[in-house]
């Protein structure tokens, strides 16, 4: 038995007092969880400590908190591991971010997380009449969505989403991962409508800033950002949906820019993202960027010659790779979550990919404290 110090963020709105930190000593073995520690403090010292929990086995998703500043499940982090990452050996536990605090470590999941989940119509919308019995699908056609199905709705990704931090209307990582669960489901008949809706929403799939925080936060390896990129890929490449945020056009402009130049020619990227230098859509954008462009010219970051001409051109081999990949009838993708990591080079771990994933095994769940 060892002694650990938990520093809990306390807050009771009805008192009118500001949030504050309070330390609690707990006696538990190091392999017991932070949640066990909080519950002991509540049982022995202060019965008013607010924490939401249920299964204590990292499956119900109730006890999401921030431990030493990082989101996790309180039941999924051992006390000894938490101490290793703690400043001065004191384990800090505070409520998740991006959601209002109801009391102490309990946040209002209804106000943010569940509202956003509802936003993406989180149920199957099949075409045509219901089958007489169940929908029959090939097992391999469902493997691609298993990663998003692993979500336990704990809210850890929502807590640390950096887009949501500045744009609370962003649909967010958990809800968009849930959206992919249906866009990737062959039984669903509304793929285009779902994608159009998520692309048209200015706070939708193109509002994600690529920060990887949700991938880092998720205790279940769902990698919500990767699911958002899949949504973009299918919306743009398969359905050619042009969105209000100009995300698809930007992607197209970027990809073509590299095909042409090998290296990015930034001066073309902005106008091309809006249809070209002389497109009516591009005019206000270029006008708005004029102060930054002039400043860059003034400081000698770029010269007019460099801005207008791009001496670097893509070699034949880069163009050949583009053509080779684009000429394929199907995109070839590898999802390591599904395929699993190989132990040794050359072993026969099955590959993913839309057509060849039959028989793939799921990797072991990420270990605690990872």
């Amino acid at each position: 038995m060892a002694e650990y110090t938990l520093r809990l963020r306390r807050y009771s709105p009805e008192t009118g007092e500001a949030p504050y930190w309070e330390d609690f000593q707990v006696d538990l073995d190091g392999h017991r969880s932070v949640l066990d520690g909080i519950l002991q403090a509540r049982d022995r010292t202060d019965g008013s400590i607010g924490i939401r929990c249920s299964c204590r086995a990292a499956i119900c998703g109730s006890c999401g908190v921030r431990i030493n500043g990082r989101p996790n499940l309180a039941c999924h982090m051992h006390l000894d591991k938490a101490t290793e990452n703690a400043v001065d050996g004191i384990i800090t536990v505070e409520p998740m971010g991006n959601m209002p605090v109801l009391k102490d470590l309990i946040v209002d999941m209804d106000a943010v997380h569940w509202k956003k989940i509802q936003r993406v119509t989180p149920w199957l919308l099949p075409d045509g009449p219901d089958p007489e019995r169940e929908h029959i699908v090939a097992p391999e056609s469902m493997i691609d969505v298993t990663q998003s199905m692993a979500c336990i709705q704990c809210g850890a990704c929502v807590s640390d989403c950096l887009s949501m931090e500045v744009d609370p209307l962003f649909i967010g990582p958990a809800a968009l991962a849930k959206a992919y669960r249906f866009v990737g489901d062959p039984r669903d008949g509304q793929h285009y409508e779902r994608l159009k809706d998520l692309a048209e929403d200015p706070h939708g799939i193109y509002d994600c800033t690529h920060c990887f925080n949700c991938i880092e936060a998720c205790p279940k390896g769902v990698a919500p950002m990767s699911q958002i990129m899949r949504l973009r890929r299918i919306a743009g490449s398969d359905h050619e949906i042009d969105d209000r945020n100009n995300g698809h056009r930007h992607e197209q402009a970027f990809v073509k820019n590299i095909e042409r130049n090998g290296l990015l020619h930034e001066a073309d990227l902005l106008p091309d993202s809006y249809g070209g230098k002389f497109h009516p859509r591009a005019i206000p954008v270029l006008t708005g960027s004029l102060p930054a462009i002039l400043k860059a010219l003034q400081r000698g970051k770029v010269t007019p010659r460099k801005a207008l001409l791009h001496s670097h051109k893509a070699g034949d081999d880069v163009k050949r790779i583009y053509k080779h990949v684009h000429d394929k009838e199907e995109r070839y993708e590898l999802n390591l979550y599904v395929a699993g990591e190989e132990d040794e080079p050359g072993d026969d771990a099955p590959q993913a990919g839309h057509a060849d994933a039959a028989g793939s095994h799921l990797p072991e769940e990420r270990s605690p404290n990872q």
Binding site: E165, Y206, D207, F212, Q252, D317, L334
Partner: protein, 303 residues
């Protein structure tokens, strides 16, 4: 040491002072740069968003070209975004033999092949892991004494930690802190140091993007930082080039200079500020440089 050097696109585009300062600093640290002039853009995550196989093949080609540089110890980059985007592709290529062979088949037309396990390190990682901070500290000619530097890591070089090899034994997410101290400066911790600069959505949601940049710059200002330092040229674009617009979005004057990593190292190693391209910044680093004498502010008789 000899490295296969991948400078990326932006360091040769809108932040030429990054590429230039790296070229000045490398010989002082005994780094021989062999530039990968046939390699293409890493894709910055955007090509992967369009087509994963295309991004993986282009980067596998870059890795294969790096592997051909005779006598090179490893591949080095100077852009966090390149590091992150390339690490993601490399994770897939290294993680599955069949996939790697599939990609190599495409490269074979050029006589290239990627072999698993190439070491691709950002200049920051290379300094700490290959050269050593003690050695770098011993080379300092103009210590950054009295200079309060806020590290701005950006996203791609710190997340996801398992992909980037960050753990207790290899705490790459603290290297900027350690380097600033090794150069004699004072680290300023502030809320935004590990957050996103907002650049990836600058064309899609400009308000949100600049709010991110403005907020982090403001947080650093409130923590009394003299300047920020970043290992990412894309972060530099949003934090420096766009800073006048970010000021408008967050409604406060900022005036926070942002240094590229090799510029900070070069200053401490005694290089001339103009040689390091510090005059090319939108926010002039007047808090860092005394332009009349080319010494650090607040450092009497330095250099």
């Amino acid at each position: 040491m000899k490295v296969a050097y991948w400078p990326g696109c932006v360091s040769r585009g809108f932040t030429p002072e990054l590429h230039g300062s790296m070229a000045k600093v490398a010989p002082l640290l005994d780094i021989e740069l062999v530039e990968l002039d046939r390699a293409s853009c890493c894709g910055a995550g955007v090509i992967a968003e369009h087509n994963q196989e295309l991004a993986d093949t282009l980067n596998a080609r870059t890795f294969a070209l790096a592997g051909q540089v005779e006598g090179a110890d490893l591949m080095m980059n100077i852009c966090s975004t390149c590091q992150g985007a390339q690490s993601e592709c490399q994770e897939r290529l290294d993680g599955n033999t069949e996939y790697r062979e599939h990609v190599n088949e495409t490269l074979s037309a050029e006589g290239l092949s990627y072999e698993k396990g190439l070491a691709n390190k950002h200049f920051l990682w290379l300094m700490v892991e290959e050269i050593g901070l003690d050695r770098i500290a011993s080379m300092v000619k103009r210590p950054l004494t009295g200079l309060r530097v806020g590290p701005f890591y950006g996203c791609y070089i710190v997340r996801p930690t398992d992909r980037l090899g960050i753990d207790r034994d290899t705490p790459r997410d603290t290297y900027l802190h350690a380097l600033i101290e090794a150069l004699g400066g004072t680290v300023v911790d502030y809320a935004g140091q590990y957050k996103c600069c907002g650049f990836p959505i600058i064309t899609m949601n400009q308000q949100a993007s600049l709010k991110q940049a403005g907020r982090h710059l403001g947080d650093a200002l409130d923590a009394d930082a003299d300047c920020l330092v970043t290992p990412c040229p894309l972060c530099h674009l949003n934090l420096d080039l766009q800073q006048p617009l970010a000021e408008k979005v967050v409604g406060r004057p900022l005036g926070m200079p942002v240094l590229h990593l090799p510029q900070m190292v070069g200053l401490a190693l005694g290089l001339d500020p103009k040689e390091l391209g510090l005059s090319k910044h939108v926010v002039k680093p007047t808090s860092v440089i005394d332009w009349s004498t080319s010494v650090l502010a607040g450092v009497p008789n330095a250099a």
